[in-house]
Amino acid sequence: MDILVSSLAAGLLIGMVLALVALGLTIIFGVMDIVNFAHGEFLMVGMYTGLLTAQSLRIDPLLTLPFAAIVGFVLGVICYVGFVKFLLRGPMVAQLLGTFGLMLFLRNLALLIFGSEDRALHHGLLVGKSFDIGMGVIIPATKLAAAGLSVAAFWAVWILMNRTKIGKALTATALNSQGARYMGIPTERMNALAWGIGGASVTIAGALIVNFWSVNPFIGLLFTMIAFAIVALGGFGSVPGAFFAGLVVGIITEIPGIWDFFTYTFNIRWMANVPMTSFKYMWVYLAYFIIMVVRPRGLFGWKR
């Protein structure tokens, strides 16, 4: 029983962080119909920002979030103004491969600068601490803090999108960019802003994830695919969808733990022989495939 509860708890906690990862992707897709393959690389940039500022300034990793947010915002805006703007005129093939080129560029730049070894944080207020909430369930403090701060960041972005004038302008651009332009909304600037918000939210997630996950230049693709799965499940362009889908995908990544629970509880021999941990992320890809086949709009999607 304790395996099941702790798997579910870990899945929900990581799911909250993953929801924040996917938020940027869904905003960018919603506003301008472009799929950003470099999304995971933005996360990697956030992880390196968090790691390096924490190490060089000797501050707690959780205090690096503002730096990460600024870096992400600037990176997103630069990417849009300097590159993505030109992609929007071209056909879809060019958009896909263009953002893929951006991904390769960021990844290999990181490889050139930081080298290929894994780096992890070893200091910090919360690193190594954990809560025992009974029934044998132990929750690492870093994950709990990351999940809490993710939800806070998510809520902040949701407020921005729904309760402010800028957010209304963004939504209008997403619904009908030509119409929005007629109404005097600077859609070019809104697109840049969407990339800025998208970049900032994902780098914040990166700075949170680096608390419990080591970083290397190749980590991006995994998170890109997870974010795609979340966005597909929640519906492309839907912000609340991203949150719920994030929780679901978080639990999907904990399938090995749940599998172990069934194996030991019911003592099923063939289940014990399956190397489940090596399939950990395969379930996410498979979930994406099944969602796309069964319900391409996703749970909360409004774009077709």
């Binding site: 896909l96 491969l97 263009g98 290999n108 050139l112 290929s116 230049p217 086949v293």
Partner: protein, 335 residues
């Protein structure tokens, strides 16, 4: 007979094109006679392989406009079928290659049939997802060597072995892949003028109109996807015999899928010569950059940075690729 005549008929291209193509093919046939380094030979073989991959991608991605970013899974199926059959049951290449094509085409039906309901980005990402699922499976499947991969040791066979495609000199491999290359060009030349080719181009231009004209859009896409798959899997089997050491990481990785799509796009998707031009530009550049900058100067990743910059420039400035530039210049002259 009709089909062969159509495949050999290049008369809709201008004379200069045919002249250049003739010179290039004479050069390709004569290349091993000239003095060359083994590195240059390996690069040439890579070039021919990748132009074949690109031709396969071009049928569905270029003529059909369906962006497929999961071609590497079929490379993997072809390569693994050839390697497993050779190492376990000593099946010659000329039997295992069609078997690999058959398996790959079956798999392409399994995933293509549901996936072609999707359009655009959704389809592209879904192909990536299936490709990654297959790669993860092969990384834990002991029968095919799991993550270690499979090795074909040439000591067991007596090279030159034309049945199993085990040679000591690269020249043999070069001529075999060159043969495939010419056959591939003829096939694509037939394909683009066939009924399916025209259907596909009308689907690319406007799917709803194509459907209203009575084209079975879904089935046309699935069929073309199978054709593209067969191409890629064939070269995958060759890859297994040529490299002799295959792992999921280098036969099925996403980078390979992207490279295939990119080459076709750089050269010009949707044209006969596009993938060949793209491979001719990218493959030598990639391997020489890696050799000079990566290995000698010790700058890991700089070759891929330059390569990424090229991708970004092409997609932002001229999405129709090099062939698009050529056609634009020609259009200006004609006026």
């Amino acid at each position: 007979m009709e089909a062969i005549k159509s495949a050999l008929d290049f008369s809709d291209f201008p004379r200069t094109d045919m002249f250049i193509a003739g010179v290039v093919s004479v050069f390709l046939v004569c290349f091993p006679i000239f003095p060359h380094s083994s590195f240059a030979m390996a690069t040439m073989i890579q070039f021919l392989m990748f132009s074949l991959y690109g031709m396969g991608w071009n049928t569905i991605g270029g003529y059909g406009g369906q962006v497929d970013l999961g071609k590497a899974q079929y490379v993997g199926i072809g390569a693994y079928t050839a390697a497993v059959m050779l190492t376990r049951w000593n099946v010659p290449f000329w039997v295992s290659m069609p078997m690999g094509m058959f398996f790959a085409v079956c798999w392409s039906f399994i995933i293509g049939y549901p996936l072609f309901r999707l359009k655009g980005h959704y389809f592209a990402i879904a192909t990536i997802a299936t490709s990654l699922v297959l790669k993860d499976l092969f990384e834990v499947w002991d029968f095919v060597g799991a993550a270690r991969g499979l090795e074909i040791s040439p000591i067991k066979y007596s090279p030159p072995d034309f049945l199993r495609l085990i040679f000591k000199q690269d020249v043999y491999y070069y001529y075999i892949i060159l043969g495939f290359f010419f056959l591939g060009i003829l096939y694509v030349n037939w394909f683009r003028k066939s009924r399916l080719g025209f259907q596909l181009r009308s689907i690319k231009d406007n799917e709803d109109v194509a459907r209203s004209l009575g084209i079975n859009v879904h089935w046309a896409k699935v069929k073309t996807y199978a054709i593209a798959t067969a191409f890629v899997s064939m070269v995958g089997s060759f890859h297994a015999c040529y490299i002799k050491n295959i792992e999921p990481e280098d036969t099925m990785s996403l980078d390979l899928s992207i490279l295939i799509a990119l080459m076709a796009m750089l050269g010009g998707a949707g044209s006969l010569w596009g993938p060949i031009i793209g491979a001719g530009v990218l493959i030598p550049m990639k391997s020489y950059l890696k050799e000079w900058l990566g290995a000698r100067a010790g700058l890991v990743g700089i070759d891929l940075i330059i390569y990424a910059i090229i991708i970004m420039l092409v997609s932002a400035v001229e999405p129709r690729g090099i062939w698009g530039i050529v056609e634009r210049v020609r259009g200006r002259k004609a006026r």
